[in-house]
Symmetry: C2
Subunit: 436 residues, 2 copies
């Protein structure tokens, strides 16, 4: 076993941080957490079977690693550019043409390597990823996650209407492609397949039905987009007039919480959609505030979701989002909620630091892992040890600063330079220097 | 003279970028620009009086440097922390106690050094700064600007009501303190005094009147805060019932455009306030979108200001704002305007990249400099050469990327590592490594 001693912060619940200054985390060889507590001499004891190696991280902070629950890997070349359009014209003008390029495996490899390298750089140890319709490139992306040592649910995208022919697959291809990813990842402990219909406007009822059936049969999780933008919602209403709301256009095909489900955005849920979320607690909202700014989508009512018990995690939503760092996404989540507080004259309480940190760690992490390996996102017994070591010495303005202020400043001002070590499932994840 | 060859971008007007790829800027020894244009062999000629040294910056970008038109230097220790309150309780709980510490000159020196060093780090070459009521620390801040070689308008703050006794000065002290800064900076070519009443709630009519008189007599510029937050506006209405609106509470004391005036925030102008802005074109709005998020203030109607011809510049508003980088502030300015676009169902067109870049450079720069030294902010003949050299090689995803996309990505993803050289008034400004 290994024991890490540091200034430790994590959020067992959304309402508060647990701070251990100093504290320790004892990690078994399988990457799960055996014990956590305040540090004092002699607190760490070896068992009959396992000796303990103590790693003293000094004055650095130790926190759970970041989880990105919504990210489009094949949009990476458009990162930080082309943000002058709303969602639907943006997809047609910039995004679909870029995703088409992933039919070319060498191109895919070059960009996917950079993407995975930067996920690691910014401290994201698990991600739920949209790939493209292309099975070879999607399998390659799984290999790159495996090679880097980080965890992912990787989705081969199903899309067969309202998009370029070159970026369409048939229902049969979407199903067999997803099965090929499932098979390809069978021996990868941290990488899995996820059923991924792009969104209702891109998928015929036939495709949605087949994907729902696949999720049920193989007990696979699901990810898609929901109520991101007003024009999109109006379009879905036209496309599926029988659905009681946008969410219902997934639910009636078995794609809304029958298995664990991620729904990105959810900016404009109506009452019916809020009700469906309550009734389907395996559906998690993925809040992507950076993207919702950049694409003029709006501000999602996160406080309302939390109040009714709907789970909320965070997503970078590259390249609608403009930065991979989930630290930045936490910042925007707080800031957008403060604007909402202002716009509602204070009726909607804004999100606190512990609430957004919990979304980025424990809530997001609950989507990954399993009973045997634990779930990442918290430092509690039985959890998977996914962690970041943070050196904030260049940001500190005095020695007396409290751990929580140090973490807060890191969230607002820190960057990859402040992350000195990364762990996924107990293993050190090294930064790779990719070729450019 | 020196000639700089690089990929050059700047905004002569808000509506578009001028891109020279490659181009050159020819800079006289006094730091003003003699000529600008597309590069070709033999284009640069020495004059009878001055020879030319060519500096080839290769494939790097060369842009005008950043200007920060609203920043509180003595709030730097609170950077990135303590953001759980709205403006008025935030001032009382976190900000005033911190500013009180600037009575202690060694404390002030330690923090002000860090502040100035970080301004340079993030590429801000001119700033309009709120100091505190303390004359020794304020003069020291001027010295540090001078030492660093960057430009500033430094304001000794006047405040004599609704604040702790330790942070109050008398009208007489505010005037004599401002005069002491004026005298102290008399021989500093890039550093000046600015008349700085904190805001109406902190200043009695007597103090406002004396400061307006001082501005008129010495022809000094003015800076203050306006209509940042709803509670503040209601309070001003109580405090000065005779004023027709918040802006009028400055105007009637000669503090609203009688000399060049910066009004930070302006989130909630009513019709009367909009009218006063039109009628006082020397008043410039300083948009501080990061701060307006963090303090739950709201979204300023920047499009409306631009449409009626009111000038708008950008401010970091440390420590309401959480980052000194004006690159970040540009990003938030676009993003907030996109949320406004969404909230108004598309009635308020969002801010473009060239518009926010123009605010950060040419509009903000117009507040600094003079006829002899030129104004910073653009690469046009007669302008002061304030510039940044940007190396985006670690951010580039292909060799064929357009200069404008390269700049856009730098704005969203870049940081201090990408700024390889900084110029203010033609001189290289070196990064200083301050002591921690």
């Amino acid at each position: 076993m290994k024991a890490y001693k540091a200034t430790i912060l994590f959020t067992p619940s959304p309402s508060e941080f647990k701070v251990l200054a100093p504290g320790y985390v004892l990690v078994r060889n399988n990457g799960t957490i055996a014990a956590v507590g305040e540090w004092h001499e002699g607190v760490i004891k070896a068992t009959k079977d396992e000796s303990v190696e103590l790693i003293d991280l000094g004055d650095q902070l130790l926190i759970p690693a970041m989880n990105d629950l919504h990210v489009h890997a094949p949009q990476y070349a458009n990162l930080g550019i082309a943000m002058d359009l709303e969602l639907l014209p943006w997809l047609n003008t910039y995004t679909f043409p870029e995703e088409m390029r992933y039919a070319d495996k060498p191109y895919a490899e070059r960009l996917y390597r950079r993407f995975v390298s930067d996920l690691v750089r910014y401290g994201t140890m698990r991600a739920a990823v949209f790939a493209t319709i292309h099975a070879p490139a999607t399998q390659l992306l799984c290999d790159l996650f495996q090679e880097a040592g980080i965890g992912g649910k990787i989705g081969l995208v199903g899309m067969n209407r309202n998009c370029p022919t070159e970026l369409s697959n048939t229902t049969q291809e979407a199903i067999s492609g997803t099965l090929s990813v499932l098979e390809h990842t069978a021996t990868m402990p941290l990488v899995d397949a996820i059923v991924t219909p792009r969104f209702v406007p891109s998928c015929t009822p036939d495709m949605l039905a087949a994907m729902g059936q696949l999720a049920a049969e193989k007990q696979l999780p699901v990810q898609s987009h929901l109520s991101e933008n007003r024009s999109e919602i109006a379009w879905v209403k036209q496309l599926d007039p029988e659905a009681s709301c946008y969410a219902d256009a997934y639910r009636r095909f078995g794609l809304f919480g029958q298995t664990p489900t991620l729904m990105a955005h959810c900016c404009y849920p109506n009452r019916e959609e809020m009700r469906l979320m309550r009734e389907n607690p395996k559906t998690m909202v993925v809040h992507c505030p950076t993207s919702n700014c950049n694409l003029s989508s709006g501000i999602a009512p996160i406080r309302q979701f939390l109040e009714q018990g709907t789970q909320v995690a965070l997503g970078s939503d590259i390249s609608g989002g403009s930065h991979l760092s989930i630290f930045r996404v936490m910042q925007y989540a707080m800031q957008m909620s403060k604007l909402q507080y202002s716009l509602t004259n204070g009726r909607s309480a804004f999100l606190t630091l512990s609430e957004v940190f919990h979304m980025a760690t424990k809530a997001g992490g609950s989507f990954f892992g399993n009973d045997e390996l634990g779930h990442p996102g918290s430092f509690e017994q039985g959890y998977a040890f996914d962690a970041l070591v943070l050196d904030d010495s260049t940001l500190r303005l005095s020695d007396s600063e409290e751990p929580l202020h140090r973490l807060e400043r890191l969230i607002y001002l820190g960057d990859d330079r402040h992350i000195t070590k990364r762990f996924c499932q107990g293993h050190v994840v090294e930064m790779s220097v990719v070729g450019w």
